[in-house]
Symmetry: C2
Subunit: 218 residues, 2 copies
DNA sequence: ACATATTTTTAGATTTGTCTAAATATTTAT
DNA sequence: ATAAATATTTAGACAAATCTAAAAATATGT
């Protein structure tokens, strides 16, 4: 597989939402940052190679084989992310771009040994699960704050909405990625929450809560 | 720089023997495993980019800028080799192919942190020096056995001649990469050597000695 | 259901890095 | 010094991945 092919496979996988939904040409084009006409060409090729199922005007899908490739890429990507954060002191938000390159390195031994070196981690720094060598998946450990039981503790590992106003709000309230958060209680009336960050207790609306991802630790 | 361009730069660098000798089109073609006509095209491009100095029918050279790029690639390659051997239990002879891929990863922070993680190593597993971030070089620590003072101890890190007969000889005499070798003495008459490997003392001809690289440790 | 808007595909061009075959320059041998 | 051998470059073609512009199919609104 070439670099480009692998990028398309990953994009089809991620847009397919895990259940291998059929993906539209336009959505793919946006994902891989190219034009729809280029996507058409590529998905035809992937189809001929047995990696994807493409039906003109209907969309694309990964074949069994394509899914195996996608999972292996996701596995590599996430293992490298763990490596960067745990061993090389990268922060949370710096890892993606580099992992995007590292995931294309071809060496089975490299990934096996990296996995071992990292102590066989089950999730990446964003709380997303790492597929096993054979392609099995644990359930995601990251959840939106409003889906977490009262009393839980978690680390803030991501945001759903990454628009400037929301990020500005987080900044103003000193909520940052990597912070440990305790969910104190929830207001019946409006679904707002009280949460504890370090020694501070903060009140946040349900809308805020439903855009903050936590990796649960207790 | 693209992958290909970087491969050519490295090839020009290595064929230039450190002193930036002018390199012939044919030699380059052999090194990067392509045809001379392709080399001509590429070196023209590198020349236009200010990376190399190319004179038709005469050969190519790296510019100052090209040398900086080459040294950075060599640095990356060798740091990754150290990583593979020290952290991921790769053996000596498995690292090259993988490092060849890893050296193209673009991230300054990645390399700085890797260097730190590895404890700022000065040589790679073959005894070749690792250029500093600014491009400075220590002298090579690997030497041919026949250029080493009597009484020295070193680790076998490579062979000059890698032909089957020679490798077969080494195998038969249980001389392997990674072995620690003591140079006991040298015979005046024919330049042959007595060396100690583990508890065994072996007699080797001068020709053998002049094809074994050691990384000196005492 | 029809016209309009959107999405997708096709056709043809472009760029990068490569190739083959032929032409040209350089080197070597006598 | 000249012929033969070798090395290098040029010219033209090709495959991969992309693009633009135009055509075709599908979806949408009233």
């Amino acid at each position: 597989m070439t670099l480009s092919e692998e990028d398309y496979i990953k994009a089809i996988y991620h847009l397919g939402k895990g259940d291998n939904t059929i993906v539209s040409t336009n959505a793919l084009a946006e994902m891989v940052d190219t034009k729809p006409s280029s996507v058409t060409d590529m998905v035809k090729k992937l189809s001929e190679k047995g990696v994807a199922n493409y039906k003109p005007y209907k969309g694309v899908n990964l074949s069994e084989y394509g899914q195996r490739i996608a999972l292996s890429l996701v596995r590599k990507h996430r293992l490298w992310e763990v490596f960067l954060v745990e061993k090389l002191n990268f922060s949370w938000d710096e890892v993606h771009e580099v992992a995007e390159q590292l995931e294309h390195i071809k060496s089975e031994k490299l990934i096996d040994q990296l996995d071992k070196h990292l102590g066989y981690p089950e999730v990446d720094p964003h709380g997303d699960p790492i597929p096993s060598k054979s392609g099995e998946f644990k359930k995601a450990i990251k959840k939106l704050l409003n889906n977490i039981p009262i009393g839980s503790v978690g680390v803030c590992v991501g945001v759903k909405d990454s628009s400037p106003p929301f990020l500005k709000f987080l900044d103003k309230n000193k909520i940052a990625l990597g912070d440990t958060i305790l969910v104190i209680d929830r207001e019946e009336f409006d679904g707002s929450y009280n949460i504890k960050i370090g020694e501070r207790i903060i009140h946040i609306s349900n809308q805020i809560a439903s855009n903050l991802y936590l990796k649960i630790t207790e």
